[in-house]
């Protein structure tokens, strides 16, 4: 569907993107994830056409659109701040793209009614000025505006930032529902790994203008290919040489283990039994509880499902064990 | 809301474009008339067409000559500047009004050209020796006072007394601008007394001290001199041009007296001249020949209270006109003064104006 081939973008002496190769499939929810300044927005703007790449090509369905003007690409976009036109009503905002395409008035009305229904904007909201809407309503207007012209692709640039936590989660769910309903190829930019993991079919993790890893959420999470990815995604324990000394694992590699892969008092057959460690504190999250553990000088964290009562007391000793295949090991100096 | 603006703006645009096109058409017809060279149009530049005088001239010229007069009425200094700015492509045909200094400026910039009308030799005073311009109206530039506030016995006998005699300090008004014809004529009359080719800018030190004192002890005014005299500022005397007196006496309830200095009164010559490179030279010459005749000047002066330069035109005018005409003219060395006036005015502006 979208084929990014060897994309590089330079701003003067600064390389914002180097050698990006991505193929996004039809109907896929694809996320560009990375810390701020990693180049993810630049890549999105290259796809939508606001930025021309220094080298490489952007193709959609086999057609090279690298040099095509923004307005001719038919790629929808939802901006970080929604960029709703303040001088227009909700209806006019959504109608804008259709009017530009010189679609007959009657058809415009029909299409807008349809999309408004699907994003759940009611009749009275349609006549309002955009600054009279709540954040959630604004997001739906922005999405409706982007979708009403039936673009082949929709790009979303951190549409959930600057919103409070609850609204964020609510909108995240709405977003996913909408994407399913419309079945449209979606490219989503975020720095929030949780958002990326929950929403995406596939994720590309970017760092310093390069792709660190491209894969499905579980691949990214469980099989982080680089030290950067494993640190950026989710909580992780770094196993110190002192900790590893007690095992016969190789010491020349940097070794990590996910919190949930470290077991307390629950050894399994294929586990390496590490031994006693002391619980030093706990954090209550509702769904689960996070414990901090002192393993003879190495501070580690583990999670346990919340079963209603505290499992471990502070100061209590637990028996640590883990599956060696769940370890993430990297050559030293890998972390760029 | 913006829609209303858009509609409104649209409406105004259409309206004004219409008006604009209409205006262009008018311009076009004027040019056609000019290009046609039928000699039926004259563009008259003047500083003396206010109070209906321009319309009077236009009506009479149309009736007597069949010439259409287009008037450009602008203050004297601006008029001269505009004529100079347009020198490469003159828009004017005839200039009327001004004063000796401005005439000199036009002459110096080759703006006007010789044309000697038939009535020229009947004018005793004010014609240009080479026939570049000819006098039509005489204006006396007087020191006047309100006899209700200062009686004739107390009044000064000549200009310098105003600043040399402390009793008059703060009792005379001085305009806060030097642009007017009257103010420059009055200054000429004073400068003329202190000519010294070795002095600063051709004026003796004593002369500059007098000029400085004139401004130092006068009441600076931005309004009509009569209004200033009638107003609360304490000024009871000022300069005035002769034909401005009668109407102001009535308007401000002033009982006018004026001074007739021994050296005479500085008189301005309002003249008429043909513009160098005029678009309608033939009509312009006909207009000038007609305008300065005794009959026309008589009617014009009678209508607007002027003192005509043509002696035959004076007959039958109110006595005030004869009194003014009978005043002694101060002999002013215009060849020395006119070229230097600009520098002097600058010197005053930079150093003495309050």
């Amino acid at each position: 569907m979208i084929d990014l081939s060897d994309i590089s973008v330079d701003f003067g002496n600064f390389s914002a993107l180097t050698g990006i190769n991505i193929e996004v499939r039809e109907g896929e929810f694809f996320t560009l994830l990375g810390p701020s300044g990693c180049g993810k927005t630049t890549l999105l703007r290259t796809i939508t056409g606001f930025i021309a790449p220094t080298s490489g090509t952007v193709s959609v369905s086999g057609k090279d659109i690298t040099r095509l003007d923004v307005e001719k690409r038919n790629i929808g976009m939802v901006f970080q701040n929604y960029a709703l036109f303040p001088s227009m009503s909700v209806y006019e905002n959504i109608a804008f793209g259709l009017r530009v395409k010189k679609i007959p008035k009657g058809d415009i009305r029909k299409k807008i009614e349809e999309i408004a229904h699907r994003v759940e904007l009611d009749e009275t909201q349609m006549t309002r000025k955009v600054n009279q809407l709540s954040g959630g309503q604004q997001q739906r207007v922005a999405i409706a505006r982007a979708l009403v012209t039936s673009p082949s692709i929709i790009c979303l640039d951190e549409p959930l930032s600057n919103l409070d936590a609850k609204l964020r989660i609510q909108l995240r769910n709405e977003l996913k529902d909408l994407q399913r309903k419309f079945g449209i190829t979606t490219i989503y930019v975020t720095h929030d790994q949780e958002e990326a993991l929950t929403l995406s079919d596939r994720i590309a993790v970017l760092n310093k203008g390069k792709i660190e890893q491209l894969g499905k959420p579980n691949e990214i999470y469980n099989h982080s290919e680089t030290e950067f990815v494993c640190n950026f995604i989710g909580d992780i324990n770094r196993l110190t040489p002192e900790f590893l000394k007690k095992t016969d694992l190789p010491m020349d590699k940097t070794t990590y283990i996910r919190l949930e892969q470290l077991y307390a008092n629950a050894p399994k057959q294929n586990h390496i039994i590490w031994g006693e460690a002391k619980v030093t504190s706990s954090e209550y999250y509702g769904l689960y509880i996070k414990y901090t553990i002192d393993a003879q000088g190495t501070t580690l964290k583990i999670v346990e499902k919340n079963s209603g009562v505290a499992m471990y007391k502070i100061g209590e000793n637990v028996n640590l064990s883990f599956d060696p295949s769940s370890l993430l090991q990297y050559e030293r100096g890998d972390q760029s | 809301m913006p829609k209303i603006f858009v509609k409104l703006l649209g409406f105004i645009s259409v309206l004004s474009c219409g008006m604009f096109l209409f205006g262009c058409n008018q311009d076009g017809s004027q040019e056609q008339a000019g290009d046609g060279g039928g000699g039926n149009m004259v563009v008259l530049y003047s500083n003396a067409l206010t109070d209906g005088r321009g319309d009077w001239i236009a009506e009479r010229a149309m009736a007597d000559l069949g010439i259409e007069v287009l008037q450009v009425q602008v203050g004297g200094v601006d008029l001269a500047n505009r004529l100079v700015a347009e020198r490469d492509n003159p828009q004017a045909d005839v200039v009327f009004g001004l004063n000796p200094m401005l005439w000199w400026q036009l002459q110096h910039n080759d703006i006007i050209v010789q044309h000697v009308p038939p009535w020229a030799n009947e004018i005793p005073v004010g014609n240009h020796p080479n026939g570049l311009f000819h006098a039509v109206i005489l204006v006396g530039n007087l020191l006047w006072y309100d006899q209700n506030q200062i009686n004739s016995a107390e009044a000064p006998g000549d200009w310098p007394e105003l600043w040399q005699n402390p009793t008059f300090h703060g009792r005379y008004a001085v305009p806060d601008t030097l642009e007017g014809s009257t103010v420059q004529m009055v200054l000429s009359g004073i400068f003329n007394r202190y000519i010294d080719p070795n002095g600063h800018l051709g004026i003796s030190d004593e002369g500059w001290e007098n000029i400085a004192a004139k401004f130092r002890y006068g009441v600076s005014s931005n309004q009509d001199m009569a209004a200033e005299i009638a107003g609360p500022s304490g000024a009871v005397m000022s300069q005035i041009w002769s034909h401005g007196i009668p109407v102001r006496e009535e308007q401000f309830e002033i009982n006018a007296g004026f001074v007739s200095p021994g050296v005479g009164v500085p008189f301005s010559i309002e003249g008429v001249a043909l513009v160098n490179g005029a678009n309608n030279p033939d009509a312009a010459r006909r207009f000038i020949d007609w305008f300065g005749q005794a009959e026309i000047m008589h009617e014009f002066s009678a209508e607007f209270g002027f003192v005509p330069a043509h002696p035959d035109a004076l007959e039958g005018l109110p006595p005030f006109n004869s009194v003014i005409a009978g005043l002694t003219h101060q002999q002013i060395d215009w060849d020395f003064i006119a070229p230097r006036m600009g520098d002097w005015l600058e010197h005053i502006l930079l150093n003495y104006m309050q």
């Binding site: 606001f50 307005e71 038919n74 976009m77 901006f79 960029a83 036109f85 303040p86 804008f96 530009v100 395409k101 600054n131 954040g135 604004q138 505006r145 012209t149 | 809301m1 913006p2 603006f5 409104l8 105004i12 004004s16 008006m19 604009f20 206010t50 109070d51 287009l70 008037q71 602008v74 203050g75 500047n81 505009r82 700015a85 347009e86 490469d88 601008t177 030097l178 642009e179 007017g180 014809s181 931005n222 309004q223 009509d224 009569a226 209004a227 009638a230 609360p232 034909h243 401005g244 009668p246 109407v247 401000f252 607007f304 600009g342 520098d343 600058e346 502006l349 930079l350 150093n351 104006m353």
Partner: protein, 564 residues
């Protein structure tokens, strides 16, 4: 870069702008400057010497450079407080107060100052009251630096009532609520939360206050007295003397260059400190109640004293417009002297000068608005040396007084010039409109540019993304956002041009006499018709009415349209 259609369009526009700059801004002024500084075939700087030998002129120059910064502070303070009174705090009668404060948008110059002189000058109303209380007070107490400062402070707040009010509407009310929630006092909120948002507009407006101070004419002339002469009246007079135009140009260049330096400094400040609202869900400002009762009383007193100061000169002018010149001269007002004769005289005059000026002003104000929108668009879109050069080139009209610009235009265009396609422009409608347009450029450019800062770039991206061509996106999205400001600027330009004199007198066509020239001719002191000061007032009142109407039409009704 290949020769795409887009590139060709851009190149055409760029060439067009450069052509405009060279032909209408640079060429005529070069004509003027060479004519002025080249005498007898050689370049002369005699003007510098003459100026330095004139202590009074130097003093006047110093005075102007004193009043300008002081004025920037006083006007800034009064202007901001006016806006806070009408739109930020809950003040009783705010709507009426606002009308009073906005009166300075309707009149200016000599007439405005005359209004103050009727009150505070010799035999003025206030003076007479004061003399009864303080018998030792001189009748002409209202004179000198303080009088000029007083008059000009209240005369120059008009721009604040438009542009600072616009800016105040873009304050996100949530930020105020948050600040209060964090325990900030009303003063802290005002100082740290509200004022920073007003800052870009305040900066832009302050530039004009400063320039207004530098180029003050009427106030120093009428109430400056011998102790406080300013430089601009001097420049004006010198610029009309053929032999002194060099010194006039030199003085004007000093003012012009300092203005542009000031602009450069302020542009830097503007870049550093402009705060856009970042919130996604902005809420409208709610008027703040002043909780401290003492402060509340004080603010109300302040508000109404200012109201009186603003409204009374207008009342004076309207009243005196119904009297005769003797009453005006003596400043002895009585109701029995009132008459309608002046208005009958004025309104039975030929009405075409009103139409002529309205059309010229409309065309010029529209033209300059469109041109400056284009320029601002270019200089905000393509940052670089070329666009900076263009921006500064459009400030050239600040370098010379209007009279000299007019002189340059006439002298340059009254003969065919190849760069003007061999079309002489003398006495055409075109040159009048051009002249009017040129003198409006700097103000329009500055204020339009300031409003461009308030635009969110992503709006245009969004429009393009939806398939709009850049031009369409600009017209449909950007223009509506800045329309209130553009219209306000249009109205101010229109009103300013309506009675324009300095430019008109040089180039008007005898078939279409503009209003400024007509009024000057009707009221010119110097002829047998007598003094007609009352007609000046009558025309002022009529023009005030027209200006008020224009402001109302394009600006007054949109109390809800703010800049987001």
């Amino acid at each position: 870069m290949s020769l795409t259609k887009k590139n060709i369009t851009q190149a055409t526009i760029f060439t067009g702008l450069v052509w405009f700059i060279v032909v209408f801004l640079i060429a005529p002024n070069i004509t003027t400057v060479t004519d002025v500084f080249w005498q007898d075939g050689e370049f002369t700087m005699r003007a510098i010497e003459r100026m330095r030998n004139a202590p009074r002129a130097m003093q006047a120059l110093r005075n102007s450079f004193i009043i300008a910064p002081v004025l920037s502070v006083t006007v800034g303070f009064v202007g901001v407080t006016l806006v806070l009174i009408t739109d930020y705090f809950k003040v009783f009668g705010a709507k009426i107060l606002r009308l009073g404060y906005m009166t300075t948008l309707l009149y200016s110059g000599i007439v405005l100052v005359s209004g103050y002189v009727f009150l505070y000058g010799n035999n003025g109303f206030v003076t007479n009251i004061l003399v009864q209380i303080f018998p030792n007070l001189e009748q002409d107490w209202f004179s000198g630096f303080w009088a000029v400062l007083f008059v000009m402070t209240f005369a120059a707040t008009g721009n604040h009532m438009i542009f600072i009010r616009n800016a105040l509407r873009s304050v996100d009310y949530q930020t105020i609520e948050v600040a209060r929630n964090l325990g900030a006092s009303s003063f802290t909120i005002l100082w740290r939360v509200v004022l920073p948002v007003l800052l870009p507009s305040l900066t832009a407006v302050t530039v004009f206050t400063f320039l207004g101070g530098l180029s003050a004419i009427a106030a120093p002339l009428l109430v400056g007295g011998p102790d406080f002469r300013a430089i601009t009246p001097l420049i004006l007079q010198l610029s009309r003397l053929q032999g002194s135009r060099d010194i006039a140009a030199l003085l004007a260049l000093i003012l012009g260059v300092s203005s542009i330096l000031l602009i450069a400094v302020f542009s830097l400040l503007e870049k550093r400190g402009h705060y856009l609202s970042v919130s996604k869900v902005k809420t409208d400002l709610v008027k703040q109640k002043i909780r401290n009762p003492v402060v509340n009383v004080f603010v109300h007193i302040y508000a109404y004293v200012l109201f009186l100061i603003y409204i009374s000169p207008v009342v004076m002018i309207v009243l005196f417009s119904f009297t005769d010149s003797r009453t005006i001269a003596r400043r002895e007002f009585n109701f029995s002297a009132l008459t309608l004769d002046n208005y009958i005289a004025a309104l039975t005059q030929n009405f075409s000068p009103f139409m002529t000026s309205a059309i010229y002003s409309f065309l010029a104000a529209t033209g300059v608005a469109v041109l400056m929108l284009l320029v601002c668009r270019i200089i905000t879109k393509h940052k670089g040396k070329a666009s900076t050069a263009i921006e500064y080139a459009f400030m050239i009209p600040w370098l010379l007084p209007t009279v000299l610009i007019a002189w340059g235009l006439v002298a340059t265009f009254n003969r065919p010039q190849w760069f003007m396609f061999n079309q002489p422009l003398a006495n055409t409608t075109t040159i009048m409109v051009l002249g009017y347009l040129i003198i409006c450029i700097p103000f329009t450019l500055r204020m339009t540019r300031a409003s461009f800062f308030s635009i969110d770039d992503t709006l245009e991206d969004a429009a393009k993304n939806l398939g709009a061509k850049p031009m369409y996106a600009f017209l449909r999205i950007i223009i509506p956002v800045i329309l209130p400001s553009v219209l306000a600027i249009f109205a101010l330009n229109f009103n300013r041009l309506l009675a324009e004199f300095d430019m008109s007198v040089f180039m008007y066509n005898p078939l279409s006499v503009p209003l400024g020239v007509e009024i000057e001719n009707l009221t010119m002191a110097g002829d047998s018709g007598g003094d007609s000061a009352e007609l000046v007032f009558v025309y002022t009142v009529i023009i005030m009415a027209i200006s008020a109407l224009v402001l109302y039409l394009v600006y007054g009704r949109n109390s809800k349209i703010g800049i987001d």
